[in-house]
């Protein structure tokens, strides 16, 4: 059966279109050109049938990253590793990355990897082509920084205060509010709206809650994600 976009519920289409188009627009810490370039590297990482092993940086392999670049090589290396080998990341690796990339810019980079991996996965699962990325938009990153960014115990990355009062995944992107907004808008449409999370009987009328959790558990296990 061929599935087309009209088969996909509108709220899900909308969330994906908004997130995908944001990849080519100026963000909080990266320009539109940088975000688009990093999204291309993330897309390459999740699509490769024979990916580079985790210990090989994508920038060390000729022809993988454009010679003329907007984003630094470390950002390409980091997003490739996150997109393809996230379960292998360590705090030492994060510390090395943040010697060259500001932690808040790193959070936005993680958001790009998450967006690309999610939408590419959805399209592939349904036998749909991934849409083309839009041309990059000009403009400067907003550099909007919350005035209450603090270190956390439950994450490597900084978060907004009060730290560690909510789950680590919930607070992870809070120091970059626009990234946080895009990711949780996708989560609401893809999985369970935040306000319904506590109801074990909530459904969209298709999958039961336990069927959704079964799929979620299998994906997490496949990705060797302890969290």
């Amino acid at each position: 059966m061929n599935i087309n976009r009209h088969d996909i519920r509108q709220d899900l289409q909308y969330a994906h279109e908004q997130a995908w188009s944001s990849l080519s627009k100026p963000g909080t810490w990266w320009s539109g050109a940088q975000r688009r370039e990093l999204a291309v590297t993330a897309l390459m990482a999740v699509r490769e049938a024979e990916p580079l092993p985790p210990w090989v940086t994508v920038s060390s392999v000729a022809g993988r990253i454009p010679n003329s670049r907007a984003a630094p090589l470390m950002a390409h290396d980091a997003i490739y590793r996150i997109a393809r080998h996230a379960s292998t990341l360590t705090s030492d690796w994060y510390a090395r990355v943040c010697q060259q990339i500001d932690p808040l810019a790193y959070i936005e980079l993680c958001g790009i990897a998450c967006t690309v991996a999610s939408i590419a996965s959805f399209r592939r699962a349904l036998g749909l082509e991934c849409p083309e990325l839009a041309e990059e938009e000009s403009g400067e990153p907003s550099r909007k920084t919350p005035n209450n960014v603090v270190a956390a115990e439950l994450n490597w990355v900084p978060v907004t205060a009060p730290a560690d009062k909510s789950a680590a995944v919930v607070q992870a992107f809070t120091a970059v509010p626009e990234t946080n907004r895009v990711i949780w808008a996708m989560a609401d449409a893809q999985y369970i709206p935040d306000k319904e999370m506590v109801d074990p009987h909530w459904t969209r009328g298709t999958l039961s809650r336990v069927q959704m959790e079964l799929v979620a558990t299998r994906v997490s296990q496949q990705r060797e994600c302890f969290y």
């Binding site: 599935i3 897309l43 999740v46 699509r47 490769e48 049938a49 990916p51 996150i82 997109a83 379960s87 292998t88 990341l89 360590t90 705090s91 959070i107 993680c110 990897a113 998450c114 991996a117 999610s118 996965s121 959805f122 592939r124 699962a125 349904l126 036998g127 994450n155 490597w156 680590a168 995944v169 992870a172 992107f173 996708m186 449409a189 893809q190 999985y191 074990p200 009987h201 969209r204 298709t206 999958l207 809650r209 336990v210 069927q211 959704m212 959790e213 079964l214 799929v215 979620a216 558990t217 299998r218 994906v219 997490s220 296990q221 496949q222 990705r223 060797e224 994600c225 302890f226 969290y227």
Partner: protein, 118 residues
């Protein structure tokens, strides 16, 4: 979450079966759902487009639970492709006492010794 929602609905969910990709016996269409999730997350067999195992599992799921539910299953897969990267790239970890409470679950799922445990 799976154990919790299953218990709340009076279902037994066999986590070892989930790890073995055979599905938990008490969940309707578990085998088809787990097969679809497994094929959709196995990137090493495809080139980013489709592949035969994924197409076969997708068609099997559509024929059992319908198109809309299959699309929602793909959306859940997409969400956890996102959330696993969010967790692992930001160094997300659970409080020590929660990890201790869930050790049996992690062992049953075969994720008790993964690198991402922190």
């Amino acid at each position: 979450m799976l154990s919790w929602s299953g218990t709340e609905q009076g279902m037994e969910v066999d986590l070892v079966s989930v790890q073995a990709a055979t599905g938990g016996v008490a969940v309707n269409f578990a085998a088809e759902l787990v097969s679809f999730a497994t094929a959709a997350t196995n990137y090493d067999t495809g080139d980013g487009n489709d592949d035969s195992a994924l197409a076969t599992s997708r068609e099997a799921l559509i024929s059992t639970i319908g198109l809309d539910a299959t699309i929602d299953a793909a959306a859940v897969i997409a969400n956890f492709e996102m959330m696993t990267r969010l967790a692992d790239s930001t160094g997300a970890r659970m409080p020590t006492e929660v990890v201790a409470d869930r050790s049996a679950t992690a062992t049953a799922m075969g994720v008790d010794k993964v690198v991402s445990r922190r």
